[in-house]
């Protein structure tokens, strides 16, 4: 640990302490309760962000998970006579189990379908809470009593500060407890999301197929994301029950789930601060919109921020003045409107709706996203280089970790593979053998079945018939992630990068297989997990260096030029330490100079002992690199051999140029 780290930790500790002591200085119970509620919401919303922000799935069932946590505490209290502590353990566990249950259909569905699953789940849970009278008291609800943990008033002799009414002491202690849990949640969620787990979640959002083909099982990690999210919902629910001390089924309705989603969107996805801001807004908004003076004050603040942001942007000319004018005018107009408005209660909901629309339109990344953007603009003027340049010297040369195999047996043996879509035979009894250490070219006209072949090899399609042997083992019945982990990596014809992840994180997703430490090790930062992360990082850098992208390691992949994206895909695929690399048209759309670079890299990969199947339309690339070439046409193998042979094969020429012109050649 160096000095900077130590001072950072000290600062954080002081900050945490300040947060925990803060409530003692707030005299109004109203604000104490408000802070408690906001902190409880924040824990849930942060958990929801794992699903919504990171895996990109919309859950309209989180209110139910919250309710499960809350009712665990409630039922423990009235039926078993157990207090808060057992509930705080059982609540998250039970909610987590339900989270897994909720995610089960995620195997097959995504998008609005999954949203519907969560909605149905939420409705069923609410009905069950309402109907299971014997357990939950049904619609009558469960009253609880507020807790007192330590009677600090016994210590007033030493510390007169603690002299206060018992009711206030209860509220205060609970508030501090909730804040402590919030800090703990921030810490744990931060660590999980910064680890391979967080990268896996984002990977499956940006490209599920690529995630599967990097050995990161989409299904498994989606379920995991839901479970993590549910655990925090359960924790939040258990805390909520003792904060409100009255539970009723209608607390946990569909509207609540929408409110949580709003909190994430408003505050900003993929951050810890965003959910807290979002929670503040949704908890405080009803009060804000009830009090006209307060509302005017808030509108003025928004108008000032809007004008300042507008001026900054206008000076920098990052956006056209006209485009900026609308939101700024809206901010100012909002203030004028708030002055003109004299009766607020009747139009509250509409104002709420307009605010959401405004955020969706002009703050698509939420308030935190907006702040980050502003900060970036301010920074870009003061310091041009935000990060120190990466030292080239520290990057080790990449070498694949492949066990040397002393055998003459072929690496890949495909026999009689048939792939049928309805009446169409995309692959028709194809045989193909790839020898170790070679580049095997695969060519054919468009629609001849090349990509289908790759998809069959990588488990995206299950072949109708035939057999695939890889390293002597059959791939039959294996899913994409298992195939990827057995040493078969690929790139994609239409680039499938994880757009919102940085370059290095893209490669780190490929290195997912190299980790051994689990979720708890990550959450509590075990020495092994720290070491693993450092090792993986170094290896990812060496891979980026290998394809010449080390300088832009921290940039988002989606901002990369097209040619470089293809190189990044290769680096990511190599991170799997594959025996066989499948390159699907790596040169498509590349400039001539990019192609030269690409050819050199492919050659180097082979020289390091990785076998390659290369699909390509650039004949000079294929002919120059390949040791053997197979030609497909209408799903059938029409030729195979060394490049020179294939080049002169009349059937190949016919396939490429059409029957009539074949004789002319």
């Amino acid at each position: 640990m160096n000095r900077a780290d130590a001072s950072r930790i000290a600062l954080l500790a002081v900050g945490a302490l300040a947060v925990l002591v803060l409530p003692f200085f707030i005299t109004s119970p109203y604000y104490i309760h408000l802070i408690t509620t906001i902190a409880i919401y924040s824990i849930l919303v942060m958990g929801l962000d794992v699903v919504f922000g990171y895996t990109g799935e919309v859950s309209i069932g989180h209110a139910a998970l919250w309710g499960i946590g809350a009712y665990t505490a409630g039922v423990f209290y009235i039926k078993l006579g157990l207090g808060l502590l057992p509930s705080l353990i059982a609540g998250p566990i039970i909610a987590g189990a339900f989270g897994a249950l909720l995610a089960l259909p995620a195997l097959r569905v995504t998008g609005p379908y999954l949203a519907m699953v969560t909605l149905a789940f939420g409705t069923i849970v609410q009905i069950l809470i309402n109907e299971m009278d014997f357990l939950t008291n049904g619609a009558r609800g469960i009253p609880l009593t507020k807790l007192l943990f330590i009677d600090l008033r016994n210590y007033t002799d030493w510390f007169p500060f603690f002299s206060m009414p018992i009711a206030r002491m209860r509220e205060l202690e609970y508030c501090v407890l909730v804040l402590a849990f919030l800090l703990l949640s921030i810490l744990v969620i931060n660590r999980i999301l910064a680890s391979r787990y967080g990268r896996a979640f984002e990977a499956l959002r940006d490209s599920p197929i690529a995630a599967d083909c990097m050995g990161v099982s989409v299904y498994r990690y989606k379920v995991l994301a839901f479970v993590i999210s549910a655990v925090f919902a359960g924790l939040s629910g258990a805390l909520f029950s003792y904060s409100e001390v009255y539970l009723a089924p209608n607390n946990f309705s569909f509207e609540k789930s929408i409110e949580f989603l709003l909190a994430v969107t408003l505050g900003g996805r993929k951050s810890r601060l965003g959910p807290i801001i979002g929670a503040i807004v949704v908890v405080y908004l009803p009060n804000l919109l009830a009090d006209i003076e307060l509302f005017r004050g808030a509108a003025l603040t928004v108008a000032v921020i809007g004008v300042v942001a507008g001026v900054i942007t206008a000076v920098r000319r990052t956006h056209s003045i006209r485009r900026m004018l609308v939101p700024v005018a809206l901010c100012v107009g909002f203030y004028v409107f708030s002055i003109a408005l004299d009766k607020i209660t009747d139009y509250r909901a509409a104002i709420y709706g307009v605010m959401i629309l405004f955020v969706v339109y002009y703050l698509p990344d939420g308030i935190v996203g907006f702040l980050k953007q502003m900060r970036a603009q301010v920074r870009s003027r003061t310091q041009q280089t935000s990060r120190p340049p990466l030292s080239e010297l520290s990057v080790a040369e990449w070498t694949p970790r492949i066990e040397a195999v002393q055998t003459n047996k072929a690496l890949l043996e495909v026999s009689q593979v048939l792939m049928q879509f309805g009446g169409l035979r995309a692959l028709d009894q194809v045989d193909l053998t790839v020898q170790r250490g070679t580049i095997h070219g695969l060519i054919g006209p468009n629609g001849s079945g090349k990509s289908t072949f790759i998809n069959v090899l990588t488990g995206i399609y299950q072949p109708t018939a035939g057999q695939v042997l890889f390293c002597g083992h059959s791939l039959e019945g294996l899913k994409s992630p298992a195939i990827a982990l057995s040493g078969l990596a690929r790139t994609f014809q239409n680039v499938q990068l994880f757009g919102e992840l940085s370059l290095i994180d893209n490669v780190l997703v490929g290195l997912h297989h190299s980790y051994r430490s689990g979720l708890f090790a990550v959450a509590f930062r075990s020495p092994r997990s720290v070491r693993e992360e450092a090792e993986a990082h170094a290896r990812a850098m060496s891979l980026l260096h290998f394809v010449g992208l080390a300088e832009s390691a921290n940039e988002e992949a989606r901002n990369l030029p097209y040619g470089k994206q293809r190189l990044l895909e290769i680096a990511r695929a190599l991170a799997l330490d594959p025996q066989l690399l499948l390159l699907d048209e790596p040169a498509a759309g590349l400039t001539a100079s990019d192609i030269v670079e690409l050819v050199a890299i492919i050659g180097k990969i082979r020289d390091k002992g990785v076998s390659i199947i290369l699909i390509e339309h650039h004949m000079d690339v294929v002919m120059g690199l390949s040791d053997t070439i197979t030609v497909l046409d209408f799903g059938q193998k029409i030729a195979e051999g060394v490049p020179a042979e294939v080049r002169n094969n009349p059937r190949v020429i016919e396939a490429y140029l059409g029957g009539a012109s074949a004789s002319a050649l």
């Binding site: 600062l11 954080l12 900050g15 945490a16 300040a18 947060v19 803060l22 200085f25 707030i26 005299t27 109004s28 119970p29 109203y30 604000y31 309760h33 408000l34 802070i35 509620t37 906001i38 309402n130 049904g138 619609a139 009558r140 609800g141 009253p143 009711a167 919030l182 800090l183 921030i186 931060n190 409100e244 001390v245 009255y246 009723a248 209608n250 607390n251 810890r272 601060l273 807290i276 801001i277 503040i280 908890v283 009803p286 009060n287 009830a290 209660t345 009747d346 509250r348 909901a349």
Partner: protein, 399 residues
Amino acid sequence: MNIKTLLCGAATLCLLTGTAAAADPIKVGLAGPFTGGSSSMGVSMRDGVKLAVAEINKAGGVLGRQIQLIERDDEAKNELGAQIAQELINKEQVVATLGFINTGVGQASQRFYQDAEIPVLNNVATGTVLTRQWPDAKSNYVFRNAAADSIQSAMIAEEAVVRHGFKKPAILNDATNYGMLGRSDLVAALAKLNVKPVTEEKFNVGDTDMTAQVLKAKGAGADVILTYAIGPELAQIANAMAKLGWKVPLIGSWTLSMATFIDTAGANGDGAMMPQTFIEAPTTPKRAAFIAAYHKAYGGDRMPSPVSAAQGYDSAYLLAAAITQAKSTDGPKILAALENLQTRVEGVVTTYDRPFSATDHEAISSNIPVFGLVKGGRVVAAHPEDLAGDKAVRVKPKG
């Protein structure tokens, strides 16, 4: 970084913490659902309270000070109700709060008033539990001037079983706190008369098809349907009965007088009966004046929920009388005054003569409500003799 930013957030919140100094007017909280499904009751109640407060202020206010109402919409949501309670108590520093339509919201939020020693006058919510939430407490700050469910259910049971001689009632209620609590009160009241409901069916708020529930009641051979639900769903019950060509009397809680029921059930709703503390008819000069003033202020020729409006109106006068008597806006003193109110308060529901005591926080006793009957789009007295002559103003018995 995250903890730093959290700190910033907490600091901002602190800035918002400003404790308002006691202002000149007397601040009174007014909480109820003013938007959403049960808002017609909330808005009628609010309008009734505002009407009374305007009259009181015009006449010079209380203790020489004007009453200022702090309105808050609880949207019929428990959690929001709890937040509002704390806001009204700690931020607005109200001296008392009027309102509450939904029993659940009352249960979730009134403990804050109890802890803060600030009186609450429930003017619409009927859940029996509300005035007895803390049986062991030294004093209870929750009062009510609405007919509690225990009163209403006993009246419904008696009307059905004794007056009309029905022996096979079916209970239909909504699956909310209101409906479920009402149903258990109703079952208990029937049991006292040695009658057991032939079936008990429920439905969700927002359901539009009641065929299954009505068929079950019909199948069980019910000779009367007793209800505990609110307007829109009650109308669907009446409509489903009409559709199935099955006609048995509909008797239920006071919500059968809601305009949503009367309008949407139309002719199908005629004949429905319910206990009413107030029927929109000028049976006394006071009532005539109230009805005229209400329509002058808010338009229309029929109140959306006359009972809510009248009880809201009365609650404001009860509170004003108590503050005047206490000569203080101090919670415990107002409580003492309410529990021992010296002045007779002439309201529109009844004339309140010592309506509360230390042990009894219910201003409405079982003799006050009468049965209303839906007839031609209005609620009229089911038994006009109940309101005839000197029985027009029914007063809570002493002691």
